[in-house]
Symmetry: C2
Subunit: 136 residues, 2 copies
């Protein structure tokens, strides 16, 4: 079976960039700079399911996105997590956290309601992220 992005992830996000292994998505919640990485391989559920041949790329892309998001936001702390209790397709949350943000110091999931981006703000942010991520 070929890779197909989970419909819930598709609905909640916008595409930022297509890296060698992963799609980089922007969560439509302006309370945090929150990216999601999804390896473009079929039938992955758990973090440890990524095949050996792709592990190094997987980790490098997580690190790259985390560094870019941290740099753009001057994050106090980065949160990196593969949970997938609700959406089972393997996806890695990469979230910039700041002291006093909407969920601080707890995790972000299930806290309050998402605050969608204005279209122009999302476009600008996506362009910034893509520019940083595709810079060699």
């Amino acid at each position: 079976m070929s890779f197909k992005l989970n419909p819930q992830l598709d609905a909640d996000t916008q595409l930022v960039a297509t890296l060698e292994l992963c799609e980089v998505l922007l969560m439509n919640d302006s309370r945090y700079l929150w990216c999601i990485l999804v390896p473009r391989l079929p039938d992955l559920r758990d973090f440890h399911d990524v095949p050996s041949a792709h592990k190094a790329t997987f980790q490098a892309e997580i690190d790259r996105v985390s560094e870019v998001v941290a740099g753009l936001t001057n994050a106090y702390k980065m949160n990196v997590a593969a949970l997938g209790n609700m959406v089972e397709q393997l996806h890695v949350h990469i979230i910039a956290r700041h002291q006093g943000d909407a969920a601080w110091p707890g995790p972000v999931w299930g806290v309050g309601d998402a605050e969608p981006y204005e279209e122009a703000a999302a476009d600008k942010l996506i362009a910034q992220l893509r520019d940083e991520l595709t810079r060699s």
Copy 2:
């Protein structure tokens, strides 16, 4: 500065095993089989802070612990997360999740009160985990 386990992590857990890079700790909460990996390197905060020379080992140890915990519990889903909003020393949560568990389908952090293990149960579980983790 040399590595020293954060006192809060030390208080909340018991040592399971010392792998090449990480300490494997058991969270003292019998509601979930919940391990925590801590790389024995000083001054790490974020997932992306692990130095290049240690990245492959770091990922391999996360995968190994996740596979062992999944196998012992027949987990429905594994949760893998580096948050660190409260305890800043880099630590990776590896948690076996089951449909209907105490926090399902939400994340486990901040939900209800931990239910400490009976001493004998903890000893038995730690021995099982250590046995699996140190098997070649």
